[in-house]
């Protein structure tokens, strides 16, 4: 290849024939290297290559990290730019599907308001760019000055990256990191500990069950992997083979798709589970062993049908019908999550629902519940470092000390999630944010370190449990990082080195590869001793000659994926050791009902994650903001869902601006009146009302978290309680033009409510 003069002063590149072939061959190698696929399908699939394109398409495998589900994706790149995300057909979790949030990762990557360089707040109070090295030295010095007063918050899902943050905290002498994770993840572990004796999140074999009672789990909305559970639901209900009953106060997307919806009173889910247990125990369908296992947990007699119906606000006949169908089913399954577990009694309620699986013999059998096991790569990277702390530890820690030291927040936005933390943040010594965006937390930070988004970075992910098969998924970057963004794991390692506590790896990728290598060694040494907890299942290393080859093979193959044989029941149950069996646990039926304040009419507020915005992460993507919520059809804002009967009584019409008043705050937002809302309750989506987070999210909608009381906790879990909140509702005014909710609904021109006009399909011939 030789350079020459083109137009005046501009270099021109001319390519000779030999140069052309060299470049062509090199590009071919690069393309094949970039694919790093598990299946040949990636390049064999049609529609993937087109001679008509100006730039060749290269499809690269990656992992969606928009939530903890671990969906495997293929990303189409053209001229080194990412163009489209699709599900990897052989994806361990998603089998080819992608959700709306997953698609929108492209708009996160190419967002016009990304943080692309390190910044420090200068004397003027504005953030100003600084070099990376200076930023790292500043943070490291602040940590080294008083490591015991340093607080670290990580929003990474459980897995290798969180393990690295734990190791980092231990290395620099700080307290363990606070794991900023969804309430479900924390409460499920605590509940499983009570019900099953092992604190791993339960995994559900939804697809192979034949009768599923979902207590509050919004698995088609946004919970673990809506893609996986959507497919499993389709399998469950195909040809009316199985049945889904949703027990949930709010009419979620999952409730909308369920065969039956039981709109129980908010906060009564645990009582409901105990009541159903009473009916099952009385039905004669429960074996002696199952009965004994259950009664070891709940020695007290369960509530009777009338009391259950009264407390749950559900017709007794419907509860009786459900229990009878459960007893008759061949492979019944009870799932729990979502709104059932985010009240103060969430752990007890969830445990009661999980324990129904004991009665039904559903633990550890096909179509039942399993332990959500993984390959332990979080602990492998963490080494001896202590476990991460639950989210509520943040406010305890910030409130408990005088002046806090440095506060490092990585990929989390606690100021949006919890009210009342602002003052504590202001009181902290130095606030450092590792973030790709100026979100509510980052925009108040003293130092901002830009991090890479999913498609820009090396990924090692242990997916949230879905069907109980463990996996470690690994992927290489798909595109070059924007600006100076770095991998958060690399930043942690650089900080540790700058603080004089260097860890033995230069980067996150090397750390993961080292953990893989160690795992190989341990597994090889353990030989067939399956009892060594640090060993991987032996089949995973079969055929590998040495650690180096194993690491190479694993990273090339996109990680380690277990098999169905690696599923297991929770350990205490599987061992069959009576000494390990859990004893009596809190009975939700003996706990008082959430009380309503006397004298004023109040509503039970149900905060929920909408399928599109989730906890708010999706709020900065225009695709998602302009996506109608599937149930309310609202775009670009927040809303409050009200029952028709309540709205009529209060004179509220759809679109009217109403005020919701909690104990410490109030919010104003438009009402959407729906026939699906349980009277006496209101539903409000979380995820709106960001103080910052880019041009598409800033000031858009309302942050319902403002109404939460940060001092309320889910007992026994260390999570903030979002449920059981009472609010007053009052109509303020008809909306001004700019306040009107943006309600989608083009409708069919010929249809009033249901599209009418049916005709046998004629093949569409003209």
């Amino acid at each position: 290849m030789s350079g020459g003069d083109g137009k005046r002063g501009e270099p021109r590149v001319t390519i000779g024939r030999r140069d052309f072939f060299k470049v062509y061959a090199a590009a071919g190698v690069a393309v094949l290297e970039g694919c790093r696929r598990r299946d040949q399908e990636l390049i064999e699939s049609p529609a993937r290559r087109s001679t008509a394109l100006p730039g060749a398409s290269v499809w690269r495998r990656s992992i969606c990290e928009q939530c903890g589900a671990g969906c495997e994706i293929e990303v189409r790149t053209v001229d080194r730019l990412a163009k489209k995300i699709e599900g990897l057909p052989s994806g361990f979790v998603n089998a080819g599907g992608v959700c709306a949030l997953g698609h929108s990762a492209l708009q996160e990557l190419y967002h016009p308001d990304r943080v692309t360089e390190p910044m420090r707040r200068g004397a003027s109070g504005e953030l100003e760019p600084i070099p990376w090295e200076e930023a790292l030295e500043t943070v490291a010095a602040a940590i080294a000055e008083a490591p015991e007063r340093a607080t670290l918050v990580s929003g990474s899902p459980s897995g290798p990256l969180l393990g690295l943050w734990r190791r980092f905290a231990a290395a620099v002498g700080a307290s363990p990191p606070i794991h900023w994770q969804p309430t479900d993840a924390v409460v499920e572990r605590a509940a499983a500990r009570l019900a099953f004796g092992e604190s791993t999140r339960p995994a559900y074999d939804l697809a192979r069950a034949d009768y599923v009672v979902s207590v509050g789990v919004p698995f088609l909305d946004r919970w673990r992997s809506p893609v996986h559970f959507g497919a499993a639901w389709a399998e469950l209900t195909a040809d009316r083979r199985g049945k889904l009953v949703q027990v949930e106060a709010r009419h979620s997307l999952t409730a909308a798709n369920a065969d039956d919806w039981l709109p129980v009173r908010p906060g009564s889910e645990g009582f409901f589970a105990r009541g159903v247990a009473g009916l099952l125990l009385g039905s004669g369908a429960v074996g002696e062993e199952e009965r004994a296992a259950y009664e070891a947990l709940y020695p007290e007699a369960p509530p009777d049908l009338a009391a259950t119906a009264e407390r749950c606000g559900i017709d007794a006949g419907r509860i009786e019908h459900l229990a009878a169908e459960l007893a008759r089913a061949r492979r019944p399954l009870v799932m729990v999550g979502g709104s059932a577990l985010d009240g103060e009694n969430g752990v007890a309620a969830s445990a009661a629902a999980l324990a129904l699986n004991l009665l039904l013999g559903a633990v550890g059998r096909e179509g039942g519940v399993f332990a959500g096991v993984d390959f332990g790569f979080e602990n492998r990277l963490a080494g001896e470092a202590a476990a991460a702390l639950p989210p509520a530890a943040l406010s305890d820690r910030l409130a408990g000390e005088g002046e806090s030291g440095v506060l490092v927040v990585s990929e989390a936005d606690p100021l949006h999630g919890v009210p009342g933390l602002e003052a504590a943040f202001d009181g902290a010594g130095t606030v450092v944010a590792l973030s790709a965006f100026f979100d509510d937390t980052t925009s108040r930070a003293d130092l901002v370190l830009p991090v890479q988004t999913d498609l820009e970075r090396f990924q090692a992910v242990e997916p949230d449990p879905v069907h109980g098969v463990p996996a470690l998924l690994i992927a290489s970057p798909v595109v070059a990082p924007r600006g100076e963004a770095r991998h958060p794991g690399d930043v942690a390692l650089a900080l540790a080195a700058a603080a004089g506590s260097a860890l033995p790896w230069p980067g996150f990728q090397e750390a993961v590869e080292s953990a893989l290598s160690d795992a190989f060694g341990v597994t090889r040494a353990a030989d067939d001793d399956a009892s060594d907890p640090a060993a991987l299942p032996a089949p995973l290393i079969a055929g590998a000659l040495n650690a180096r080859q194993f690491v190479r093979r694993t990273t090339d193959a996109g990680g380690l994926v277990g098999t169905g044989e690696m599923r297991r029941a929770p350990a205490a149950l599987a061992s069959g050791d009576a000494d390990e069996a859990p004893g009596p646990i809190p009975d939700p039926a003996s706990l008082p009902a959430p009380s309503a304040p006397a004298g004023v009419e109040s509503f039970a507020m149900i905060p929920f994650e909408s399928p599109k915005l989730g906890d708010g992460r999706g709020a900065n993507r225009p695709w998602l903001q302009e996506l109608p919520d599937p149930l309310s059809t609202v775009m670009w804002g927040s809303w409050v869902e009200m029952a028709s009967t309540d709205a009529d009584r209060l004179g509220i019409h759809t679109g009217d601006i109403v005020r919701l008043t909690g104990t410490a705050a109030e919010i104003e937002l438009p009402a959407i009146v729906l026939p699906t809302v349980r009277p006496g309750s209101v539903g409000v989506p979380v995820g709106g009302g960001h103080a910052d987070y880019g041009r598409y999210a800033r000031g858009r909608g309302v942050n319902v978290n403002a109404l939460l009381d940060p001092d309320r906790r889910v007992a026994g879990a260390g999570a903030f309680a979002r449920g059981d909140v009472r609010v007053r509702v009052e109509r303020l005014r008809r909306p001004r033009r700019a306040e009107r909710p943006v309600i989608y609904g083009r409708g069919l021109r010929q249809a009033e409510e249901i599209p009418v006009g049916w005709a046998p399909h004629d093949g569409g011939k003209a």
Binding site: A100, R482, L627, T633, G637, R678, V742, A759, P760
Partner: protein, 233 residues
């Protein structure tokens, strides 16, 4: 001759809207912002209609993805004064953007309300424009647009088959919405091929046409095990 068609199994559709975003990503569909969306100018080529039946607590919710039905006897075609929308030999209601003068007669005549109009030029603030699909033109202001059945993917499938000196086979072409669907509720292919997946779905006793009594002869088939037909009077 091929007749491209789609079948949508409403019994498998959860209304999650992954398809809607997949469609936007594939086809460079602009977002218009809150103000314009409030005026009813959102540009989705594919939408999920939601219907409620009954009252609490015995209320049912149903979802129906609605997109251009690629009608065999399309009401939108004869009203275009400049032939910007026409019927191609493979059954697609094709749009020639550069020919469209924006009378919007076609949208007015579409009973499915699936045509959308670019009231303004599309804006993709840099570097959001890096994501744009190079296979699909970005439409300027004043032009009507709608679902194309991912015609660029159809073309790519044909190119691929031609390179391999064979006919396009069933499954060669997947639309963006179909590919994204977590529950695999969408089938796409040649309705003239009796062995294609879409033809087999169309033969189902659950199959029906949307607003079929208008005799538009849609290329989209819906499947539902529950009644969506007009109640008998």
């Amino acid at each position: 001759m091929t007749r491209w068609g789609m079948a949508i199994d409403l019994d498998r559709c959860t209304g999650c809207e992954a398809c809607v975003v997949a469609c936007a990503a594939e086809n460079n569909i602009q977002t218009v912002g809150e103000e314009q969306a409030r005026e009813g100018r959102a540009m989705h080529w594919l939408r999920i209609e939601r219907y409620y039946e009954g009252e609490f607590p015995n209320v049912r919710t149903r979802f129906m993805p609605v997109l251009c039905q690629q009608c065999g006897a399309a009401p939108c075609e004869p009203v275009c004064p400049v032939y910007a929308t026409y019927h191609n030999p493979e059954g697609l209601n094709a749009m020639v953007y550069s020919r469209c003068i924006g009378t919007r007669f076609c949208a007015n005549n579409c009973p499915y309300t699936v045509r959308v109009f670019n009231w303004f030029d599309a804006e993709f603030p840099a570097p959001l424009d890096s994501q744009l699909n190079p296979d699909v033109s970005v439409r300027p202001g004043g032009v009507m647009e709608k679902c194309t059945f991912c015609v660029q993917r159809i073309q790519a499938g044909k190119d691929e088959a031609a390179q391999e000196d064979r006919e396009v086979m069933d499954g060669d072409v997947k639309t963006a919405c179909q590919q994204s669907c977590p529950t695999k509720a969408i089938a796409f292919g040649d309705l003239e091929d009796p062995d294609s997946e879409v033809s087999r779905w169309a033969e189902s006793p659950r199959a029906f046409s949307l607003l079929g009594d208008l005799d538009t002869r849609p290329g989209v088939v819906y499947l539902s095990g529950t009644e969506w037909r007009e109640p008998a009077e």
